[in-house]
Amino acid sequence: MSSPSELGIMFRLIRRNPVSMLGLIIVVTFVIVGLIAPYILTRPEEAWGIAYNVKDRFLPPSPQHPFGTDEYGRDMFNRVLLGTRFSLMIAVGVVGLALLIGIPVGLIAGYVGGKVGTALMRVTDMFLAFPPLLLAIALAATLGRGLTNTIVALAISWWPWYARLIFVQVNSIKSLPYVDAARVMGLGSLTIMFKHILPNALTPITVQAALDMGSAILEAAGLSFLGVGVPPPTPEWGLLVSMGWQSINRAWWISFFPGLAIVITVLGFNLLADAVREAMDPRLRKALIMKGV
């Protein structure tokens, strides 16, 4: 179930389907742009919000300003471009932090089991009783606005999913003979958890987590739109849409393009997720392998 060639098979499957390939291309582009965005800006100061240009307010899209300008006369293209980085940071931050909380909880609940495990999973269930985003909204409203706070708020509403996944995985792995063998060998519980169980439980979760980044971007944008996310002048996409709302009748482009950026990015992640989910379906994969994919 977790051989290293798994990713290879997945990639071969994705390459077969043009739609999935599109997803992959979008995601890769997003990551690259997110990493290099600060270095390719043509108007970095406007993008970072430390320069403005009053006489160029509300310019519609043109070759000079492909996405137009906002109420400060800042170039929206540069703002959206830089926003890629913040979305990437949020995506990685949220998913990473959620894994950081979820994995130990799921691991301990699954491996130790008993009363501790039950208690941990009950707590997890309580977090899961909130609709997605609601808990994050509550937390963000309490913690105050900020990039870190947004990431923390989202991660706290997010980790239970991973705890659940890990719990299920660990439960099935811990009764496998190689874990018994490790115990017979006299290894400590921690060694067994981190050397023998975790690496084998991790693949499906990390794949899932990487694909969840799309949702993280979407939810962070939602928080920003509701005014409890990232504060201005950060060019986070959701915030840009929200800021443009005020002048939408006069300048539709301020809200339109950042929103489009969200749509494309999240679409990329979701298309990829779709393909991977198909690839992870054992029946389908078996059939495809037999066909000699």
Binding site: E45, I50, Y52
Partner: protein, 596 residues
């Protein structure tokens, strides 16, 4: 299985039923779409729709949910039908709050100014007192005895006459309850009623009681009969407040409250026996004032804009400022601007290094692009501030603006010992959700960056922000560096601004932690002379503001200019707006013309 038989009737009866169901759904959607399209084609109603007679006059409206007016029907879109009543709909951004004239200190000002009257009105633009319930007044030489003469023909909505006893009753109830704006009566030692139409106030210390009596809050006069109507023991019985909050009024103003649904709408109807209608030359009335004035709660600017364009409302409190230029071109609409006494300042933490250095503060004051801020934050609908007293108000002076001069700012900073900018970033807080504060903050961040000052801006809820600022009294290091802050006066005096924000006795709002005994003494004296010797008071206020200009405990940024967008047929709108009573439209002075 039971549940799904209802839900998907397909599996038992087979294909014909299934197809039928799908077809039925398609038809339903089609009908809905067609109906929707038909409705879209129907012309929308125009403004000042006339109500046929049935907005009932009974003032016994109860609670928020029920409406007294038994299904009012609108006869046609024309205003001039003999039986029709003229209606003006004013959209308010915020929900109404309470209905108790003694304690209300918030949004209900919007209608209270029409339903209740104070002793006097104040016109701050012309610095003029306008008679209301009092026709004239005198003040003793030392400023501590104020005598008001009431008009003889004023009546409360319950039919009883407005008398000196009623005035005493109202103000004493307000003072005793001690909530809301009751503090304005602080100088009053005693209220005497020598005869039916004379009220005498004995003060503990001199104070401009004429302006206090014209305060936008806490100065309403209402009938003593409310105690009886509410079935209460006395004026301060909670039953009286409950009676008011159930949607009753007993004022003497030109309108009466007929529907009280604070979250959706408030309906006011003309009070025919108002004394003002009969006075030929009274400035605050019109012969074609609307019969019905509806305050409708429309909580966002974009919707208000759409509704005023379509004529669903007649006056918008608030539209997106970016759109005003476009709206001006619409022949069906008019745009009215008026000064507002609300201004925006940036308070500086004067105790936290390096801001304790006056040179640094001056450098900051000269590095702020005031004009750009006004253009971006308010689309030009504001004035660059000159001192903490807003434009148009008595006590304002035009030569207190800091120039925007980055060279000078850099020089000042170098002189203060920071030729390469400040060593640490400054924390600037503003109220989250306020778009004007937000834009202002962003521009300040951008421009201070040019002289080497890094600003971290943090939007916070007002409460958190205020408690953070409060903590500065004990530990100025823990507090914010810069604090974007609105002020507006409770009653119109420069003292209100200067004392609250800059006198260290005022712990609540002197959030610059500024303490200057000389300044404190100046404004105290000025306030003393305000009722006695205006010229002297003015001079003292000027001296005080000059001290602030030099010390820069705060940077005044801009004074708000209010925008009202209305249908073109609403006449005399300009006169219906008075910055001393923010957000209020004095409906009694509107000229309502037909059509629109």
């Amino acid at each position: 299985m039971g549940v799904f038989e209802v839900f998907i009737p397909l599996h038992r009866k087979g294909i014909s039923k299934a197809v039928a169901a799908v077809i039925a759904i398609v038809i339903i959607i089609g009908v809905i779409a067609a109906a929707a399209y038909y409705m879209a084609q129907r012309p929308t109603s125009t403004s000042t729709t006339a109500l046929s007679p049935t907005i009932s006059a009974s003032p016994t409206t109860s609670s928020t949910s029920s409406t007294t007016s038994a299904s009012p029907t609108i006869s046609s879109t024309s205003t001039t039908k003999p039986s029709g009543k003229t209606v003006v709909v004013y959209a308010s951004l915020s929900e109404m709050t309470t209905a108790d004239p003694s304690t209300e200190f918030s949004n209900s000002i919007l209608w209270m100014c029409l339903v209740y009257e104070p002793l006097l009105w104040y016109d701050p633009i012309h610095d003029k007192i306008i008679p209301a319930l009092a026709t004239s007044y005198e003040v003793s030489k030392n400023g501590t005895v104020w005598t008001f003469h009431l008009r003889h023909d004023a009546k409360f909505h319950d039919g009883t006459p407005v008398t000196a006893q009623a005035v005493k009753f109202s103000i004493e109830r307000t003072i005793k309850l001690g909530q809301g704006a009751a503090f304005i009566w602080d100088p009053v030692k005693e209220i005497k009623t020598p005869d039916k139409y004379t009220v005498v106030f004995i003060l503990k210390y001199p104070a401009p009681l004429d302006k206090i009596a014209a305060s936008s809050y806490g100065a309403w006069i209402f009938s003593p009969k409310v105690v009886e109507l509410a079935g209460a023991k006395n004026a301060t019985d909670k039953k009286v407040a409950d009676w008011f909050n159930a949607g009753h009024d007993d004022g003497s103003g030109p309108y009466r409250l007929v529907k009280w649904d604070p979250q959706n709408e408030v309906v006011l109807e003309k009070f025919k026996d108002w004394w003002g209608w009969k006075l030929a030359d009274y400035p605050m009335k019109s012969d074609s004032a609307p019969d019905v004035f509806i305050i409708k709660i429309v909580k966002d600017a974009v919707t208000q804009e759409r509704m005023v364009q379509s004529g669903d409302i007649d006056i918008a409190e608030y539209v997106p400022l970016e759109d005003v230029q476009t709206l001006k071109k619409n022949p069906n609409l008019q745009v009215v601007t008026s000064p507002s006494f609300q201004n925006l300042l940036m308070l500086i933490n004067t105790r936290k290094p390096p801001l304790d250095n006056v040179l640094v503060r001056r450098a900051i004051a000269h590095a702020i692009p005031y004009e750009d801020i006004v253009t971006v934050a308010r689309s030009g609908f504001a004035k660059v501030a000159s001192g903490p007293i807003p434009h148009g108000m008595w006590g304002h002076f035009d030569n207190l603006t800091y120039t925007y001069n980055l060279t000078l700012a850099k020089e000042l900073l170098a002189k203060a010992g920071y030729p390469n900018g400040l060593p640490r970033p400054l924390l600037l807080t503003y109220t989250a959700g306020d778009i004007y504060e937000q834009r202002t903050a962003e521009l300040i961040k951008a421009s201070l960056a040019k002289i080497g000052i890094t600003v971290k801006i943090r939007p916070m809820s007002w409460q958190e922000q205020w408690s953070l600022a409060q903590s500065g009294w004990n530990n100025s290091k823990a507090a914010q560096d810069l604090f974007i802050f609105y002020w507006w006066p409770t009653y119109i005096t420069p003292f209100d601004f200067l004392y609250n924000m800059f006198d260290n006795e005022s712990k609540s709002f002197d959030l610059c932690y500024y303490a200057n005994p000389k300044f404190n003494k100046l404004i105290e004296e000025a306030h003393y002379y305000e009722g006695i010797d205006k010229a002297k008071a003015l001079h003292l206020y000027y001296e005080a503001q000059k001290i602030l200009y030099e010390d820069v405990p705060a940077v005044p940024l801009w004074d708000m200019v209010d925008i009202r967008v209305a249908r073109a047929n609403i006449g005399n709108l300009q006169a219906a707006i008075n910055p001393a009573y923010p957000t209020v439209i004095f409906a009694q002075v509107l000229h309502v013309k037909a059509g629109g």
